[in-house]
Symmetry: D2
Subunit: 347 residues, 4 copies
């Protein structure tokens, strides 16, 4: 199952083409809508004020409610653009954004309005694709879940068991510990008041993958496969599996996971490996953490260069922006993980 | 330029096929040998005692000293195998190793001796491929360098400027601060004495890539491209670009890199982005850190399950092993980075 | 530049996503429409009576009239479906069609109405993609043209020089020799009257490709690249380059193309190789011929098996069908050739 | 299963890396050798006088006689090179060869001796790879066979039934009708005496593929998949499935294959489609014909241009050459077909 996302933040529509969807899947549109709803900004001050219905229209690949197996194209119309906000940014690259890199890459022809194809809005079709992937995985007993592990230094409680994640998707603010969640919200709102933004991290689990998927080799390495999907999510700057960066502080006797029996199954007593050894699933839950940079759009004045004059200047970004995208990114990371899991499963 | 690595630790040979090498490159065999030498274990107690000449034989793709542009195959014969050490491990998967995952993946048919195709020995052909990539990059002014950033909690000094890396490749122990290096060595030797091993991290820089390489989309995202090469290196468990995991502690005003002029060039005053915005190079050095797990081969007794009987049991891993692979992995990470850079450059 | 086509003949829409379009192309919508017009059925008896406006809506990848370089999605709405014609064919696979193969492939879930995703209607988005490719090629002096070389045994005159093709695209019936064209039309109309259909062949030229594109190796072989695009066109059953099947009747002294100078250029005096040696362009025009099977939809009774009962039975295909698709396929073959040429050019 | 072929005709060795070979295959080395033997020139005047043992050394991917599932590298050393024959051809491109195209493609750096990487000698590792593929296919009941269908206008008898091919692989000259074979040999020997060469065609069958493999879409189209493997065989200039070019002379009522029952199986009464409808296997044997150009190496004087002086001149090709490669190409075409079938089977 391959996905190709198209669209620009202020263009007519965004969407996705999914190839090699298994035929005969009764598409659960309610589930797809609920996943899109998890990503959609709330009506509070934690997110952007842009309001979009995000109702997908399916143009192909579904017949009589079931997937046909041929390419599935879903389109989401844009409606609540305020393109005027961006006109004066045309030649002023915003620090932390891809404006300058994109300008060079696309010879100045990329749609700069609202970040264009770089916009976080493009994660809506990704969530659509991920919802399809999740539905397929669920039918084979595979669960994908995630929670905010930290925002601006406020940590959620550590995950001990996958089951702790079962209720998180239904929460408005996807944390294990709601008290920590309130602290995180306070940190977001404080940043917002100060015309700033905050970063954070998300921990995600794919539970139920059988042992033996992937390979050590380039292009098939399980962690490599996951990371390619994860880094394609805007703002992700780090990906760590299992004990992750803490491995650098460990001895082998600490980092190795003792091998044991659990009934007839061979398991490990700990899961520092995060479900992968040598790039191959070992039957334990795949666990990883991604770090997301703070939203680069902030109202504080920032230094930049006017590309039309070549002069150094300042920029203040007005318009509607997320003071933090970590909470909205939780279903996006799950979507990327679900698609990666499908690739490893050969779906 | 694509690479395919083949071979097993105790098989007749290991090697690599490089496709789409630019034609007409006068292959610098001295440089290739010196890169292989950096990876080869020293004769001290910091590394394994296995001694291999690692002399590559080029079977194709080079004519009259120049690359032909057609596939280049280089082979390195194995000579110093002690396969007997492994016979009793045949059905005892080693914790932290890919033995169990590989057993399932390959239906019990993979070569278990010395880790087989999962062995760190397979990084020798990767270094060969990387040396070719580095030579190509060097001709267009691109530098690839790395240093150990930490071992078991001992940190090297922070990298301020790429030029600090210029002399590191020539060092026996690739750190910026040799005093820190001595502390790291002590940590390694102590672990070794205690029949244990240690993990660490490597910071790597690719300097000189032009702005505008890569794309935000899945499969072309610059960080995704790099991460796929990096996770294909055994023991890598985390990859972080620029400020990396520290982004989770930052506000946008801290994390954003101010844009400025440097002569005629547009640069950023800081490089928290690590050279990528929106998956596209921004003209600043690509900077990333990888975390390597401690060598899983340790002599201490560990819990495992005998795959032939299904009984829980213990294992003590004898034979020759690295108490730390971080220092030997530095040229390997550079090799992976060089190959990733070539992909982004369209080489 | 990669293309992905989606849609079904009787679904809401068909379309294409084009990735890696060069940025900054001023899209020539008039040209695109004229290419789509060449493929659209005429209002005569030579083609199906289904009438569609085939007006593409561009959802992404174009900003202020220019390509952005990010994925371009174009959608064509279906409007003139007569799905009722197909209801009774639901379980009756039509001989010569992909109904049975598709039924097995897609577990009976593919959209059978009008051939669904297998429909010749899906060549409209291919022509869209090809028109973009042609426009890009034209800007570097590359010409793509084709003519009907035969229909049901009636041959067009042989092509001596590429320039003979310049006016053909503007013709209603794309042949070099209009008298031969009239004979072909008569053959089509006669078949139609007899509730039958006819096959034929198309000769296509890509002129202006520089020497040195492609490689002998699998996946890069120039003829292999072209053939993959060409066989993806419905009804194509044979692809032959240069002298093609006549090579089997030749001696080396006849088949070899003498090498000569033409001004400063190195050329061949004949072009039996059809522009490729060893899978690499040699600077001569790429010339190939494709054979298209007769339209499988015919009104004559045919033998089939009812998939719901397992009984052998007969089928008569009513509805609107092309008695010949060769004339409408000329711009489609050109489109496939243009996309293949772009791949070889590294566009 | 992917294959990558490396090597040059007069380099140290040629070989192949096979990735994703199923683990646990007991490699049948006798069968591999017999397949390589079918390709090797006989000691008669029908083929080149170059004599090579063609004994493969397996460097990786096989352990205790079984495939490990990790990349399998097999190397064949070159021994009987006469490189002196080629020295004066260094700057004289041979008509019909890839010398000029390769010179441009590889900036004059390709190994010109014996055709280098373009040499028909590179089909030996392809036959190795194909033998592995055939062994895998055989275990699931799939048969791959071929015969010379024509040489220089002398036709073999038409194939009525796949079983006619069963004994052909054991023949010195792989035809159905040995009398026709004698005529073909006479045509070859006559061409040889006249310092010339002849072309021909090969018909190949893959029997036993289940219905439902492939897809109509670009990149997955069954005929497209096969053609990419087939055009990667040197000298192949045309590929036609089923009725092939004869479809251009047919009406739909002739070309369509009536659908019927054969016991419980759904079959077609004829197989004009050659086993594919809409790019998907229909359960009937895959049947195709390839056309091979006459060997371009002929002793007769031919026109060329000296690349060092830019002057038009003549060339006479001395050395050891095949007056026809069609008979030796039969196992090569089977090998390409077996690899294509594995791709469609998802092996």
């Amino acid at each position: 199952m391959k996905y190709t996302i198209f669209g620009e933040s202020h263009g007519p529509a965004i969407g996705v083409v999914l190839e090699d969807v298994p035929a005969g899947l009764v598409l659960d549109m309610e589930f797809i809508r609920s996943e899109l709803g998890r990503r959609r900004p709330g009506k509070d001050a934690l997110s952007t004020q842009r309001q979009e219905a995000d109702e997908p229209e399916i143009l192909s690949g579904v017949f009589e409610g079931k997937t046909t197996g041929t390419p599935l194209c879903a389109v989401i119309r844009n409606s609540d653009q305020h393109s005027g906000d961006y006109e004066r940014l045309r030649t002023l690259p915003r620090p932390g954004h891809a404006d300058f890199a994109g300008f060079v890459r696309y010879d100045g022809c990329n749609d700069y309005r609202g970040g264009g194809h770089f916009s976080g809005r493009l994660t809506a079709p990704l969530v659509f694709a991920g919802a399809v992937a999740k539905q397929i995985l669920k039918e084979t007993g595979i669960f994908v879940g995630a929670h905010i592990s930290s925002i601006y230094g406020v940590n959620d409680t550590a995950l001990d068991d996958v089951s702790q994640l079962y209720g998180v998707a239904a929460k408005d603010f996807p944390v294990l510990d709601d008290a920590a969640g309130e602290e995180m919200k306070a940190a977001i709102l404080e940043a917002r008041e100060q015309e700033d933004s905050v970063g954070g991290s998300i921990e995600c689990v794919v539970d139920g993958l059988p042992a033996g998927l992937g390979a050590p080799d380039f292009g098939q390495n399980g962690e490599g496969v996951f990371s390619q999907y994860l880094f394609a999510v805007p703002a992700v700057k780090a990906v760590a599996f299992g004990a992750g960066v803490a491995f650098s502080l460990m001895r082998g006797s600490e980092g190795n996971d003792p091998i044991a029996k659990e009934g007839e199954r061979i398991v490990t007593k700990t899961n520092h490996a995060g479900g992968f050894n040598g790039g191959i699933t070992n039957g334990m839950p795949v666990v990883f953490e991604v770090t997301l940079r703070p939203t680069p759009s902030i109202a504080l004045p920032q230094e930049t260069v006017d590309l039309s004059t070549g002069e150094e200047t300042e920029i203040e970004i007005t318009g509607r922006h997320d003071p933090c995208i970590v909470h909205r990114a939780v279903p996006v990371i799950e979507a990327a993980a679900a698609l990666a899991a499908c690739e490893l499963m050969g779906i």
